[in-house]
Symmetry: none
């Protein structure tokens, strides 16, 4: 029979500690709504009084109705020497328009004496009085036992006495924190068991990933009886991050069959992407369950097996978590993976023809092409091969000049292009560097012939030198990612000349946009 | 008492399955040397016959002497219906110049019937006969039991019978693979224990990270008696990656007190960075133990506590793994680490002066410079700063032309250089691509003034785009590795213009050679 586990999200508080992450009050509100929809039990909104935007967020949040989530305010025990009722942090918590507060206190005697610089007994009073004050102010309180596991190893009795103080103060949850993220699984297991035997109230777990074990430690704690997991979406957080709730929720629901209150685990990938976008962090492609690469397959053996039965190389069906299978084209790919890949493009293809394409691709790969990251170039290749596509324009000539006038280096490119009706454009442009100049000139030349060109923006540009040995004389592979605001696509070019390689990738990018645009017009 | 665990690295084989990763034979050789130095027990070089570059690598590797590492060749059991002695894959393995082979076979009955499409008994014969053939060819053999844990759950008896077949064939290691990365910790624990009770030979573990548990599952297996861990540096690998050996080695040695044969865990961060650079993957800042952010502390409470005692917010001392503490709001860490680095160059430096250098370096880092991988540029920077060094020559002007005549694209560069005595050279050269042309022209111009220039050969050229958002207008960092036949050194250049960035790196490279050469003459 399955037990139920609460999910406590601290993306907006501990996650916001992550380098370069900062949520505006509006960002935070959107994340809160998304987590509420998803069915997360608790969302920690921040530390009242720590920053104006946090207070602004709590104000905004108090105006909306949450369906599934309880918003909590975070803080710490009061300052020693100040009565709780006069402690500004505690007063901010008491005044915060939420039902639940989660405050942390020290459970590691070493921390008490070396960081707080007070006596162990004084710390116990702080914990008890701070929680009691919040209870008396009408709040429900959770206690985050900071450094609990370090404390448990160093001085078990004292660590447990801090929990006792929290319970005496009126805490309804004891949350055991591996604040430094250094604790090994067996210690987590023993300590959680011990705490559950010692106290009547439910226990939560809060892990950091400094030993690469945050997810495992959280699961171990649950297996030993913890009924709440604190973490962040995508595991964002200070240093190496917090426990990744995406992995934890997926494992608990899909693998370990615990009961969660979340509505639909199939929304997990969307939730992950949403948080990355809102936090303005590049999504991590290799992230388990929700990453772009989580169900990407490379290499002939795997792909042909996948085609027969996905379970051969997928631990779950990608759809379970709202993710997608991707078949990568690579120098190890055989006919099977190409054919699979062609399906993605709705191109039905006979095996002879596909073999012919495989041969062409292998020839290109020998030159240094790699299509696994360049779907758009791959699609163009296939359509050209099938004669479905004639190039809408040709670059009939180009020049690039790099010149230093005094200390300043200038780059200029001139290009000559001709469309399929014989219309020619010849123009030039400067740029930050030769590739940018070429990019500018090319799109300047094409915009009159193909207005769609103006909507294209390059979002990434990657250069890989293919053979270290010949160094600057080596072939380079250029990958260019482009967007028209709605869709994104990647194209590839290879040459011994980085400029020429870039030009090929640029031409593919623009041709792909024109081709897709025509598709749409036809469809309408 | 501490047991000993073997480390088996498959960065060059399973790691190379990672999207966008492809090692040249020279890259692979460098990685092998680094892993040998580090003290990794086994390094899997690749699948002989799978690609020309793999065979080229094994040829190169057979010419060097390894101090600590056994190089292994990877492959699979033979094809059904072909006698082992006629199976091309097995023949390639037998012919490979290594002592050890690691071949995988299927342990999941479902895989046998649905992927191999043969009878379970036929698969047992395949395993036994394939291994026996390799033994008879004089190899020592490990058996990678593919999908072992899925097989163990689905049909325990059959999964174990595949191991029995491997043992009968003469395998010396049984490596249990969580190929789909979907297995939970308890299953790993039970299965490993069971296998160790059933067989006499040692057991290894091979995990993938699809459930975010690869490191944890590897450690669980070791705790239950596995004595070999297979994984990759930085956890690179297909989909969500392999078990990250960096985290595993650090946890085993520093936390769980197992005995590893590695020489110095203090080199771990350098090893991690080296592999990222060689694979041309951007290092992951949040990676446990070795990431740039692993010991980064944001302002306030944490920092003041850290200042009092680092244990308050660090699970280990960063130096243990060769990493550095970063205090995000102050230069303290910066100064300390630079002073450390200056010692490497035998440059003793007062703290005021070092602070001034830190400031200069921080300014350059803000522009995108990064001296981790560019010691030569760093040394030049420091010596220039101390006034020990005046530039032996100046590039007073340069031009680069890229031009397409018909289908052929030509590159030409002209440079004007002046040495410190006012001698000027003005010359030009063609090249394969603009950077090569510039490189040729520059060395042509300098060879008469500085004969040492003729001995310099560039061995690697790497480009990294620093800001994806602005795409082709983004700054690029160019790393150039040079050798004079005896020594090698790396220099760095940054600019929005890839040509200009390359020029800076080229100038540093040549200046460094001249400077070292003068040193020698002085010494003689």
């Amino acid at each position: 029979m399955s037990e139920s586990v609460m999910i406590y999200d601290t993306t907006l508080r501990d996650g916001a500690q992550s380098e370069g992450v900062s949520f505006s009050p509006e960002d935070s509100l959107e994340v809160l709504k998304k987590l509420d929809e998803f069915g997360v039990d608790f969302v920690e909104g921040g530390w009242p009084g720590s920053a104006p935007k946090v207070d602004e967020f709590f104000k905004l949040a108090s105006k909306i109705k949450l369906k599934n989530t309880k918003l909590t305010a975070f803080g710490s025990t009061g300052k020693f020497g100040t009565p709780a009722k006069n402690d500004q942090n505690l007063k901010n918590l008491a005044a915060c328009p939420v039902e639940w507060c989660c405050i942390f206190g020290k459970s590691w005697d070493f921390q008490v004496t070396s960081a707080l610089c007070i006596l162990p007994e004084q710390n116990l009073d702080l914990i008890r009085n701070s929680i009691r004050f919040l209870k008396d102010s009408g709040k429900r309180v959770m206690f985050d036992a900071e450094h609990f596991f370090d404390g448990y190893i160093n001085n078990k009795e004292y660590a447990l006495s801090t929990l006792k103080a929290a319970v005496d103060g009126g805490a309804e949850w004891l949350v055991l924190c591996d604040t430094n993220g250094g604790t090994m699984m067996e210690v987590i297991a023993d300590a959680v068991e011990d705490v559950l035997l010692t106290f009547e109230i439910p226990v939560g777990i809060h892990c950091h990933n400094d030993s690469d074990l945050a997810v495992a430690n959280s699961l171990v704690a649950v297996e030993r009886g913890a009924t709440m997991v604190q973490g962040t979406i995508n595991g964002i957080g200070e240093r190496t991050g917090n426990a990744n709730l995406c992995s934890i929720m997926a494992n608990l629901e899909l693998k370990l069959e615990y009961e969660l209150n979340i509505k639909d685990i199939g929304q997990l990938t969307e939730l992950s992407t949403f948080v990355s976008e809102t936090a303005n962090l590049a999504p991590v492609p290799g992230m388990p369950f929700v990453g772009e690469k989580a169900f990407a397959h490379k290499g002939g053996v795997h792909v042909s097996a996948i085609a027969r039965d996905p379970r051969t190389y997928e631990h779950i069906a990608p759809e379970c978590v709202g993710n997608k299978r991707r078949i990568l084209i690579s120098d190890m790919a055989g006919r099977a993976s190409i054919s699979e890949k062609l399906k993605d493009f709705g191109i039905d293809i006979g095996t002879e023809e596909s073999q012919a394409i495989v041969n062409q691709i292998k020839a290109l790969e020998a030159q240094g092409y790699q299509f696994e990251g360049a779907d758009a170039s791959f699609e163009l290749l296939v359509r050209r091969f099938k004669g479905e596509l004639e190039s809408p324009f040709k670059v009939t000539g180009f020049r690039v000049f790099i010149d230093n006038i005094g200390d300043k280096v200038s780059s200029e490119a001139s290009v000559k292009v001709m469309d399929s009706n014989g219309n020619e454009e010849h123009t030039a442009s400067n740029g930050d560097g030769p590739v940018n100049a070429l990019d500018n000139a090319l799109r300047k030349a094409l915009s009159s012939l193909f207005p769609v060109t103006d909507r294209i923006r390059l979002t990434d540009y990657k250069v890989r030198v293919l053979d270290g040995k010949s160094a600057t004389a080596a072939s380079v592979r250029v990958l260019i990612r482009s967007t028209d605001g709605k869709n994104s696509w990647t194209t590839v070019g290879v040459s011994e000349n980085v400029i020429e390689a870039s030009l090929y990738a640029l031409i593919d990018s623009i041709e792909y946009a024109i081709h897709k645009n025509t598709d749409k017009e036809v469809a309408q």
